[in-house]
Amino acid sequence: MTMFIQFLIDVLSLGGAYALMALGLVIVFGILKLVNFAYGELIMVAGYTMYMVSGLGLPWLVMAGIAVIMAIMAGIATDYVAFRPVRAKSVTAVLITSFAFSTLLQNAAQLFISPRPRTVPLPEIFSATVEIAGVITPARNLITIAAAVTLLAFFAFIMKRSILGIAMRAAATHFTMTRMLGVPANLIISSAFAISGFFAGVVSLLWIGRIGTVVPGIGLEPLLIAFIATVIGGMRSLQGAVLGGFLLAFIDTGLNYSLPQELLKFRDAFTFSLVILILLWRPQGLMRGPATGQRT
């Protein structure tokens, strides 16, 4: 029984983090049909911001807030540098520019800060342990679950109720028609990038909270997770991204628990094989997105 609760907490906390990662990626993709390779670097930016303000003696929440704001700004910057110049051109062009921008940011961090890991301040509560139903787990896991649930609920509310959310959902289906109702295109796009940055910032705090240090390449793993969660969930659907995140966490945790020691280091290969099987069965992902005639 304790094993089950342990498993559940692990899946929920990991899934929550994964779902937030995926959501930050899908929100830009859904509206603009563009894959943002520089998404991982938004996480990196938040991490390095924490590192750089760590000496100022501010309370952790304030530092976290600054980091998230920097991630939001970096998200909007991504729009201006990597997306706007090429938006009218092909989808491939945007993939390439965002990949290039990602490399640029990583190398800039390497050049101007350091290629070596830098410590990130963490609140003591992250490492405190908590006992639930006989299982001892870091408080960080519970905080992640709480944060994920709160943010997902808040996000769902915004998308459903607020005019901006409605506009963004409309723009994901038919961008031009949304403009023809008077909704400013740039506002929608910048909002999407800002929200993406916000999620990246929060994810950064939770993700780096497990390691404690930041390196230029730190965004790669979350990016990959977001990618895979999005693909299996269905690229056009916000709910799909969340579902994909939890499913991926389930697979990863399951493999963690069940693989023999020598094979554990190949866990990612196994996860990926399972993902391929899912895609063989459902190439368009598990959830159907908004109905359009367009390909994803």
Partner: protein
Amino acid sequence: MKRHIVTLAVLISLVIGLVVATDLTDIRLFDRIATNLCISLVLVLGMQVFMGNSGILSFAHIGFMGIGAYTSAALTIPVQMKGMALPDLYPVVAAVELSPYLGILAGGLVAALVAAALSYPLMRLSDAAAVITFFALLVVLHTVMLHWSEVTNGPRTLFGIPKATDLNLAAGFAALAIVAALAFKESRTGLLLRSTRDDETAAGALGAKVAVLRWQAFILSALFAGIGGALWGHFITSFSPKAFYLKETFVILGMLVIGGANTVSGAVVGAFMVTFAFEGLRAVESGLNRAQIFSEQVVGLTEITLALAMIGIMALRPGGVFAMREIGAILTRRARKKRDSS
């Protein structure tokens, strides 16, 4: 037909010109740069075969380069050395010692086989999902290389690969790659595939056949990548898994994109341009480091410049230098116009 011959002639003479010029100057540094350039040609052309014809970005390409390199290494490292280089290598393989030329071919073959086995499900994905999944495949291949110590020596450097690649060998393979890439492009498979590249309705009409076509192109591109990887392994004689990951992907992709992903000419010209630019920038970087202008080592300048160049090209000329037509087509049309007007 004529324009294809012209394209072949121009591109292969570029390679020949490179070899001749390098031999004439007889500087070792230039020999190294030229050989690397020829190996890059094989890699970029491999990427072009898939990406140019299917329109899908395959980030997994460099992973197959690694497969080729490690396969050839395992098969060609002298048996006595294997004991030290790959102590845990499976006895079946450890007893084998092939000539590097066979090793290179084996590297290509194994890469192609792995591609054939793994990649079919990815071919049915929509464009964006496919790109993402290929990217994940790269990471997985990298993870396997990083941890399969019996074959790769894990994250540590693998030593002892026999040096067999010289400029002539690399150039020979580069020329072969040019011919093969162009032949594929103009073959029935290539033409069919390219018709689906931009037209979604055409792709829909062909249905599942698109997946098979893409799969074939992917296997061919993996063959190139495997050969390129093995060639490189026999040139550099020691490497580790991190050589087959994002940085290399970025450089090869940059070459293809700047030159023009849709054309073989673009792939070739892009490789030349980026190599020369890179070497120039690297010289600047080391000059700066030697002169101690900055307190720390300047590293990453070349990548940053390449990144900016890629963004710039995408904004200004997204098709690359040779966006649509091969150089043969451009030259023959110009010749015909001149003939007609005179």
